[in-house]
Symmetry: C3
């Protein structure tokens, strides 16, 4: 994309309503309007275009981007750090450890104490059903109260870097990859995407990826198929959202317990392991009671249940059954690759190998998506501001 392309994108952005994003948080894609979703894509493209033309994308001369991760994370950490850096924010990690003990007074106080110079807070908290999103809301309410009381001189906005319900930076990056791959958001209409469960030897992978994909892709008029073995149901609320979205967008949302059915004639396949929602709910309950023996027992049961479905693997045979045998294979990475990272996994090595470049490309959109979410939450007139930045034409590398 050259400067003229960027200019056009800015013009297109100027037609979208984004006022409600200003000083607001990004929790779930389905809480955002179609125009807001589109604005994120546009800003991400514009920022990428500017960076590729060696134009500085800094919005901030100084300021902090706080990161708060409940578990280890390399990819998300670097995506967030990249997004902050690109905009001129310095990342400061708040390392609270893996425990989820902070509540009430502590959350309120800590949220304010770290935010005196914070422009944005990125949180990843996906480990317990019913917890992550709740925690993020608590942090957001705390800094809002601090801002309203004149304690915080700016309202740090929140970006959900993965919660127990949605994974918006992943699904939005995935969608932008699709938009690029198929040559426009309008070309997604009618495309069949198979969001399917796949076998992994590990246990307890979050539901936020399949839920995020269903919740978002159903907005573009796509034929969204959710496939999983019986017992691997996702949250009913999110299924409902996908149904409503599909109805509105002129797409379809269907469910099946057959991987083959999902793959049949699919334009896009997204095979990935996750844990059953009901089991994860139970696990949260056990955790709350401190019943670690119960958790161990549950884990064993789930691993046993898992082992019954080793045939849920994205094989060459299945790939052959997709549209012209050439469906786009997607994954949020890292994937469990048969004979590479494990004996039996989500995907055959030869399939993964063939799609490595597109998979990495898919991941490359995430820093820009995060930067766009931050940008839109900190700027009232994003099109004007991007125009100013573009015209200033400061080089990223001197």
């Amino acid at each position: 994309m050259d400067r003229i392309g960027i200019k056009e994108k800015i013009k297109s952005l100027s037609r979208l309503r984004t006022e409600d994003m200003y000083l607001n948080d990004f929790f779930h894609t389905w809480k955002k309007s179609d125009q807001e979703i589109k604005a994120v894509f546009e800003v991400a493209d514009i920022l990428r275009g500017m960076r590729n033309n060696n134009i500085s994308t800094r919005l901030f001369d100084s300021g902090l981007g706080i990161s708060l991760f409940r578990d280890n994370s390399t990819r998300t950490r670097f995506s967030y750090a990249s997004a902050c850096n690109m905009l001129g924010l310095e990342v400061q990690d708040l390392d609270e450890g893996k425990s989820q003990v902070a509540h009430g007074e502590t959350v309120r106080e800590t949220a304010n104490m770290i935010s005196f110079m914070a422009d944005v807070i990125g949180i990843r908290d996906d480990m317990y059903i019913g917890k992550g999103h709740t925690y993020m809301k608590e942090v957001a309410a705390s800094v809002q109260a601090g801002y309203d009381a004149g304690i915080l001189e700016q309202r740090p906005t929140l970006v959900n870097l993965q919660c127990d319900i949605d994974h918006p930076t992943q699904s939005m990056a995935d969608a932008l990859h699709l938009i690029n791959h198929f040559g426009g958001i309008e070309n997604l209409k009618g495309k069949k995407i198979a969001m399917t469960w796949a076998y992994s030897p590990s246990y307890g992978k979050p539901l936020s990826v399949p839920q995020g994909i269903m919740g978002l892709m159903s907005r573009f008029g796509m034929a969204v198929t959710l496939a999983h073995p019986e017992g691997y149901e996702v949250m009913p609320e999110v299924e409902k959202i996908a149904e409503i979205n599909s109805a509105k967008s002129g797409g379809t949302f269907s469910k099946t317990n057959s991987m083959a059915e999902a793959f049949k004639d699919a334009d896009i396949v997204y095979p990935k392991s996750w844990a059953p929602f009901k089991a994860m709910e139970k696990r949260t309950g056990l955790y709350g009671k401190g019943d670690f023996d119960g958790i161990d027992k549950l884990e064993k049961e789930l691993l046993g249940q898992n082992a019954d479905h080793k045939d849920w693997e994205c094989t060459e045979e299945l790939m052959n059954s997709t549209k012209e045998g050439k469906a786009l294979y997607m994954h949020c990475l890292p994937a469990d690759i048969t004979d590479v990272s494990c004996e039996k996994g989500e995907v055959a090595a030869s399939v993964f190998d063939r799609y490595r470049d597109p998979l990495y490309k898919q991941a490359s959109f995430k820093p820009y998506i995060i930067a766009a979410m931050i940008f839109l939450s900190k700027v009232k007139n994003p099109a004007d501001r991007l125009d100013t930045i573009l015209n200033a034409n400061l080089p990223r590398i001197v």
Copy 2:
């Protein structure tokens, strides 16, 4: 504060002598002149004013701010990071662990090795009486020698982020909060501040907060009352400093073993747990001998002694006895709140609740105080330089 207000503050700053702060460290408030203390407040206000007017406060285009914490710290870490970021310095943490084993050659060498690009070093080392300040002096002497020998191309200055004796960034932030609350430094004259011990179920909290408060507030003509149960004496040297300061400033410094007496008609109350100085001295001795059984025994004794004073709590009743029942409640946070963070603590939940916003506001001054200390140690003519920065009028957010 608008630009005109900032201009006036800069003019007021220009009348203060700050030459001795240039390339110098900030260890204890009582080592600084009245004009120097005032200059820190002015610069803090100016930086805050500029940031609120979206004016970049960067003094540095690049450079490092080293942080060295002997124990875990969220608040101080973020305050220091905020201060560095605001001025354009990138924070690099030197994680030496909790042990205090480094001496002599190692300190000298490490101090120089980390300082080739360091403009400032912030140290928190408050765990052992007789150790923290001594260590900071050793680091300062090491980098001074390196600078004098032409090894370091700039003299990194030190900011004491809490030592065993003083906590200047806390007490100065507290004072700036009072100045704002009472509408001017001159209005502190005659105000009664009760720095009192309070019960906490934990053990060994540092003396640097009460000592810092006594050592600083006694300079403003205030009626400083130090209250604690018998046996909870602070360092006699700091009591002497408070006496001398009070005599000079036209204030008073008094001591009592009654919390009620201290609260009576107070304008400001600061109830907080700390450990007895004598016991902490003994602990350092045991630590030096590696007598960990002795330390355990001492801890048990102190917890026992503590438990005798559960009635030292900041209750509604005590608050009612203050000036018009409306004394300003202060705390360095986090506080031990009865029925919230513990069964019996330093303050009643209803009192804490009522003062939450002022407490957070109090904390909000710390990043600016630290930034002001750094600024004054790196710039010979701070008023001129701030004028230049103000006139450059670069936006913090584009």
Copy 3:
């Protein structure tokens, strides 16, 4: 150095061929041409000169410098952070822990996932013979493939911050120290440098320092003497490189099993402990088989072997035997100092004491050497670019 001096250095740089450094990695000094080595020294001097004249050395407005350390490191970490900061890059640490388990798919994927906004990756991986360099090559190949496939929008270049074979940032900083000490690279011709083994109570120190020194200093026409007790041989490949270099540069490369012989009439002495290459090779094999008992046994053997050579110490007597008794003493730090850091070590306390300032000065070149390596890998016409930066004349401190 004033602006005129800097201008001259830039002119001198403009005559050197550095095209092959552009978008390329820095693994071993002996893979670089003489002009490229010289260019690193020139750029380091220029950057140091600019910083000393308070001229901003930023090449980047934003961007990340990734660091990846296999073991704890304070000095290298801060040198790298300083170099990145000086050029405008923000450091992000990738903490992979001390284990060396990542291979193939994982390395390829991780290298790309962290590099979307990365301009440079600094790696220190010196723990296992046959591993560090191999790993770095794997990372470099991964990001090259990502760049070629259009996944990475810039090619992050690698800087070897110490591998199992070479330690180029150390040896180059050491050489720049010598150039400064002796008043020019041409004055190194004919100087005798004794790279000698010395006793340390610890075990398994890397070979990369002696190998790096031999491999580099042999290029300047110096008389390089390698001294060690029998059994402490280094990698034969690197001895070969030193021989070839010496023949080309008009110097000599000799070996001896006598510390006294090496010190005799030396202009420079570099006494330092290292582990025998053969033993380290064996250790890698045991590690590969997970034979930790074998590793323990080997360690005991090596410590026993070590203890036979406690007389390999840099004493005053040995120093007296050097050229006019005034050889320049060098060490990469930290040194094992007899009676200071251990009972019996690499160097006598009085020798170390006398050379402390030159030792610290020696270390001070490393951040600039690293910055120069980065600069030359990111800029096609370094002389032009430095001229632009110099003429822009932006202040480092406002």
